[in-house]
Symmetry: C2
Subunit: 332 residues, 2 copies
């Protein structure tokens, strides 16, 4: 079927509220730069009140990857929960307007769509404060199992382990995928997220993840090692393909079958404006490459180029024509 998505993403459906902030602001609110923390409604209100003027844009880690995958020309579907409110309409519009299949029923009032208050400091680092709202109501009944079974890859984010229903959806999606021969890709999401669920993530990984995305901090936290090199060595025997991302130092693509480590340089960026979405767009590019006939190192080049695009401007969704941006990368 030509309209079957190659990639199905399951993740939190979030609208980002992005504002510039000074280091003092982070200190005053005791925020750990570069990480994501979960906040409740009252914290979200208090923080928002103290923030400067913002820009609202669709976000969500896997949702950003799905958007990038679609912009590259891939067929994709997204499963995630918004509410029946204006931000929910914004999220739905933005992802559907890229041709992504998104049919998860929204949660009725008084649920509100998840939002992440993102503070971008002058060093272009982003610090995220997420109120999950309706996203917490995603559960296994929201899965379109046929879609997962027919896809080539299902992509899941570690952040889904925070809401209990979403975690059940995550586990069920893996069962469906395994039974149907759909590959399972998994992002560790955030070092604090890894700390919260370390043992379970390790079991998951040993139990059948096919493609793993981790940045240095996440990998070191998961494996309790001190250096990126130790993490790289330990990951060689874990899953078929691991992408270990290292910010401006590029990434390592670890191929378990051959034992090869492909070193992918970061794409040169004139000026890094906002790192939000870098990992998400890296995943978009790699998953696109792997499902469209590219060899692993070429898929890595697509990944690096997509990540480079998204850090060169505000917000976690690409602005440029990604198809054209990667047109010169040869398939094999």
């Amino acid at each position: 079927m030509s309209d079957t998505p190659a990639l199905v993403g399951i993740g939190n459906a979030i609208v980002d509220v992005i504002a510039r902030a000074q280091e003092e602001f982070l200190a005053r609110h005791r925020l750990r730069k570069g990480t994501m923390r979960l906040i409740v409604a009252a914290q979200a209100e208090a923080l928002y009140e103290d923030m400067g003027p913002g820009i609202e844009m669709s976000g969500g880690s896997v949702a950003n990857s799905i958007a990038g995958f679609a912009m590259l020309g891939g067929r994709a579907a997204f499963i995630g929960k918004v509410a029946e409110d204006q931000l929910g309409e914004v999220f739905g519009h933005d992802i559907r307007s890229l041709g992504v299949h998104f049919a998860t029923p929204p949660a009725p009032p008084p649920a509100t769509t998840a939002r992440s208050l993102i503070l971008v400091t002058p060093d272009a680092q982003r610090t995220m404060n997420t109120y999950l709202g309706a996203s917490q109501m995603l559960n296994e009944h929201d899965l379109d199992e046929g879609l997962i079974a027919r896809a080539e890859i299902v992509y899941l984010e570690g952040y889904l382990w925070d809401p209990p229903g979403a975690k059940r959806a995550f586990r069920r999606a893996i069962e469906v995928a395994k039974a149907a021969g759909t590959q399972v890709a998994f992002s560790l999401s955030d070092p604090f997220c890894v700390s919260r669920y370390r043992r379970e993530f390790l079991e998951l990984i040993d139990g059948g993840i096919d493609i793993l995305f981790a940045n240095e901090e996440e990998a070191k936290t998961l494996l309790k090692v001190d250096t990126a090199e130790e993490a790289r060595e330990a990951l060689k025997s874990k899953v078929p393909i691991t992408a270990l991302t290292r910010s401006e130092k590029g990434s390592w693509l670890i191929d378990r079958a051959s034992g090869a480590v492909h070193e992918i340089p970061a794409d040169p960026v004139e000026r890094v404006e906002d790192t939000t979405g870098a990992g998400d767009l890296y995943a978009a590019g790699l998953l696109y490459g792997l499902t469209h006939g590219y060899a692993l190192p070429q898929a890595g080049r697509i990944a690096a180029r997509c990540a480079g695009e998204v850090v060169s401007h505000y917000g976690a969704r690409p602005e440029a024509d990604l198809k054209r941006l990667v047109a010169d990368i040869a398939r094999r």
Copy 2:
């Protein structure tokens, strides 16, 4: 009173939804590039559904000017109507977080906050499609007359003539201002807006506007002349100060008392990204200069610099530190 605003703005309270679009998109929807048209709810839905992914940001012409004025360090208040919804919260947050006094009571459901669907074509021109929603419910009872009476300048937009209640508020604000010795500044807003209300705008201008903002198209439409030079000559006898803005050709500041025309060059901009808000930020800079001890040509330089800032990126609200941006412009 040190906390009395120097400038009170009255305008439509709008959230912008900004998306990139190709020329074909404008043609398909029969949109006139560079203008603003009013749309009803069903049109807004249909257009939104066909648009690509967007960015949401607070907008509104006078509201943008007030935001810029506050960012320059001026004390300002805004009067305009949002609804009790998420976009209304966004608008209120963004303007209050700049220190602007904004206390107009929001409209209850089922009213929804006004939004403008803004399409930015590759030539950086913006085409606006505005659904007025709750903004239409502004009326004379929403005016804080004491605030207007104590301000140095009240600033009004031509767009207010579209909703009947807002037009009454506009007229009442002028009465209050005139009685109290508050100066009245007025923006013609848009050439189509001028066509709709030409005769009334001419009466208004003759009846006591102190500072007039017009771009070339608006001035030519108002005065039924063919060239910017003819408009300039005709405006010399109209109001005490007229700013005639001419995009990349800069602006003319016409001083009725002396008969002088100050030619203000446009600020050099490396790359024009999106012209949305150029006129609004020009007004912000000029009004700031005039209320903070700058001579007219220096106020014009502040205006040009603020306009240059806002066209160099997406969206109609400034990103840079405007105070620092104009710090080198001498007071007298």
